[in-house]
Structures are given as structure tokens and as C-alpha cells.
């Protein structure tokens, strides 16, 4: 446990030192979202209807940005060898990395999502539902992304392979997340969709670190 905390502290300190990476992901998120009114036109009824989808897709793409460095840097400079020998099981290393990815990328995206949604004319009454979906959603994305990053480690052109691997896995998250806001918008309860999102998270929580850990073991061999 202390080793996991020490690793998390190290990861957070590194992401603070390289704060530009976090900023880049958030700026990408906001800029990509801001392209839609320009392309589709600023009509509030059109924008307001597709706003949840825009926020979700942009969040998904922005969360992918820092993934290829998640293990890539450690793999190249030999730190991954030391992590594998550091007394932590590989699954725990992957779990800590996923938490660090969420704190460094998911959480800032969550904070930026509210203002972006309002900017895109989403009914302010539905913003809490959007955020309630994004909270487990970004967590699940971090876990799935960690899995993808671990699997492509050491592969040539891994950075290109990564989105192809993670995006299909992230589809359920996207579907339930947007459906929740859709339901709230039409006067229905978003509860079943949010519960399904939590179910995805509950499945990803034990499985992704385990699978990612196995992939890390394979990568150092």
C-alpha cells in the first residue's frame, strides 16, 4: 500500500512538472468542442440537442491524448523494469497508473465539461446529469485507456494503434453517457443509464488493471 502511494505521488509530481500535458488535453477538449458551433451553426435548438454527444466525444478523444506516454516514457528509460521489480504486483502498477491518468486528465476534463456544455447551449438543468455520467465515464475511460496503453507497449507505431484499440472498447461508455442526458432532456429518469455506466466501471475496475498488468509483464520480457 505504501509502495502504491509512493508510486502515485511520483506520478502526480511528474504530471505537475509536465503541467503542459494536462493543459494540452483540456485545451484540445475545449477547442474541439468549440469547432461544432462554427461548423454546424450557432442555432441554439440544434446545438443544445447534440451538445451532450459533442462533450462526450471530445472528452473521449482528449482522454486518449496523454495515453501513449502513460507507459511509453517509463518503458524507454528503463523505469518500467524498476517498477516491475519494486515489490508491487504488475496489476497494482497499472491500477496506480490509471488513477494517475484520471487525476491528471479525467478530472480536469470533468471540470471543463460543465462550462463547455453551457457554451454549447445545453439546458443548464441537464448539466448535473451530464457530469454525473462523466464521473464514472472518465474513470472507465482511464481504466480502458491504461489497458490499451499497456497492450500496445513496445509495438511499432503504438501511438496509432492505441485509439484503434481503445475507441471500440469505449463505445458502451459513450452510449450510456449520452443516453442519460437524452433521457433527462425528454423528462425521463436518467437512472438506468447511469447505473449501466457504473456497471461498466465496476467491470473495468478489476479487469483492466489485471489485463494491463499481464501486458506490462509481457512488455518487459
Amino acid at each position: 500500500m505504501t509502495a502504491a502511494l509512493a508510486l502515485l505521488r511520483r506520478e502526480l509530481r511528474l504530471s505537475l512538472r509536465h503541467g503542459a500535458d494536462t493543459l494540452a488535453a483540456v485545451l484540445f477538449f475545449v477547442l474541439a468542442g468549440a469547432l461544432f458551433p462554427l461548423a454546424i451553426g450557432p442555432a441554439p435548438e440544434t446545438l443544445g440537442r447534440i451538445a451532450p454527444g459533442i462533450v462526450w466525444v471530445c472528452a473521449l478523444l482528449a482522454a486518449l491524448l496523454p495515453l501513449d506516454r502513460l507507459f511509453g516514457a517509463d518503458f524507454e528509460d528503463g523505469s518500467l523494469d524498476q517498477l516491475m521489480l519494486g515489490g508491487l504486483p504488475p496489476g497494482a502498477v497499472a491500477g496506480v497508473k490509471a488513477v494517475a491518468h484520471w487525476l491528471g486528465t479525467g478530472l480536469p476534463l470533468l471540470l471543463a465539461a460543465g462550462p463547455l456544455a453551457v457554451m454549447l447551449q445545453l439546458d443548464p438543468a441537464n448539466v448535473p446529469v451530464l457530469l454525473a455520467g462523466l464521473l464514472p465515464g472518465t474513470l472507465a475511460l482511464s481504466l480502458l485507456g491504461t489497458l490499451g496503453a499497456a497492450v500496445v507497449l513496445g509495438a511499432r507505431r503504438g501511438g496509432v494503434l492505441l485509439p484503434l484499440l481503445v475507441l471500440p472498447l469505449a463505445m458502451p461508455v459513450l452510449i450510456f453517457g449520452t443516453a442519460a442526458v437524452e433521457a433527462a432532456g425528454s423528462g425521463l429518469t436518467p437512472r438506468p443509464h447511469l447505473l449501466l455506466l457504473l456497471a461498466v466501471l465496476a467491470g473495468a475496475l478489476p479487469l483492466c488493471p489485471l489485463a494491463a498488468g499481464a501486458a506490462l509483464r509481457g512488455a518487459v520480457e
Binding site: 509512493a6 523494469d81 521489480l85
Partner: protein
């Protein structure tokens, strides 16, 4: 049978569809040292990774005191130094299980004056010393070193000699691959 130290039994390893290690067996008693010699590509690094448990041997076993889990500290070709962290912060994670403090480890390698400098400003030799400081922190009895003197000046090599001697005096084992003469008196040699 306890007390035999580090034992390799019939180790074979395949790397890139080539058999680089073939039925290798040796024993290093506690306090002993083993020098791995051989041309480039002869399997020295592969053997060290197998002993470290990073790579599974394709046949054979590695035992420490008769047990399958060897407590190892591994120094690879790369220094595993994070350029964004200071020298001291780089040692923090290794210090979790450590027997001494990061400052003592830096002192042992004459890096204390550079403790708060970002590691990206360190020279190649200083980074190598920082990686060696991680060994000093490790409680592991088996040290596996891949070209430990890479980039080190003569003073640092002497310092390393002192550390290796102290580690062996405490019952530790050193296995090292090298092309350069090392201050490692009484070491057995294994030619690959």
C-alpha cells in the same frame, strides 16, 4: 537446501527466435561475485534479465537459498532516471522498501550536492551514479548489474568497488556483465 546462495539450473533462453542461453548452470555463494564475459550479443543482458525475473527462462530455474523468489536489485543498460524529477525525488520510490535514506544513498555516491537538481541537468556519469544509488537503497541480497561502470570516472569506479565489497561482506551476491575491468576481487568468471 538453504545456504547455497544464488543458483541457476539448466537455464535456456530464446531471444528473437535465437537460442542465446543454452543449459546454463552455476552457483554463486553468499558473499560471492560472478563476472559475465562475452562478446556483444552473447546473452549477458538476457541472462541478467532472467536472473532478475523480468524475463521468464524458456527452460530451467533460478533459485535463491533454495527458494524460487530471488530478492534482486537490477541495474540495466538504462538508468531509469526521470529527467523531470530532482536527484532526491528520483530515489523516493526505491526508498519505500529501503534500508537507508535517499540522502545516505546520494552521499555514498558523492551526489549529495546535486540532490535538489533536476535530473535532466545531470551528466551521463552522474545519472549512472544516481542509478547506482538506487542499489544502495535496495534491501535485496542479489545485485544484478549490466555494465555498471558505463560513463563513470575512475573515482566513481573506486567508490563502486567499495560499495560492492560492503555488499558482499554483508552476505550479498553480485552478478555483473562487463567489458571493463571492475574492482571485484575474487570474482568467478562465466564466459558466455
Amino acid at each position: 537446501m538453504p545456504g547455497v546462495g544464488l543458483e541457476a539450473r539448466d537455464i535456456s533462453a530464446i531471444r528473437g527466435e535465437r537460442l542465446v542461453l543454452r543449459s546454463l548452470s552455476f552457483t554463486v555463494p553468499p558473499g560471492g561475485a560472478l563476472l559475465l564475459l562475452g562478446a556483444n550479443g552473447s546473452g549477458k543482458s538476457t541472462l541478467l534479465r532472467v536472473l532478475a525475473g523480468l524475463k521468464r527462462p524458456d527452460a530451467g530455474t533460478v533459485l535463491w537459498m533454495g527458494e524460487a523468489e530471488a530478492p534482486v536489485a537490477y541495474l540495466g543498460h538504462q538508468d531509469a532516471v526521470k529527467p523531470g524529477l530532482t536527484a532526491l525525488e528520483n530515489l523516493r520510490f526505491a526508498a519505500q522498501t529501503g534500508r537507508s535514506t535517499p540522502r545516505d544513498a546520494l552521499q555514498a555516491l558523492d551526489l549529495l550536492t546535486l540532490a535538489d537538481l533536476p535530473a535532466r541537468l545531470l551528466s551521463a556519469g552522474q545519472k549512472r551514479r544516481l542509478a547506482l544509488a538506487r542499489l544502495v537503497l535496495s534491501p535485496a541480497a542479489v545485485w544484478l548489474l549490466d555494465e555498471p561502470t558505463l560513463g563513470l570516472d575512475t573515482a566513481a569506479v573506486e567508490r563502486l568497488g567499495g560499495l560492492l565489497a560492503a555488499h558482499r561482506a554483508g552476505g550479498g551476491v553480485v552478478v555483473t556483465a562487463t567489458h571493463l575491468p571492475l574492482p571485484l576481487p575474487g570474482a568467478a568468471e562465466l564466459r558466455l
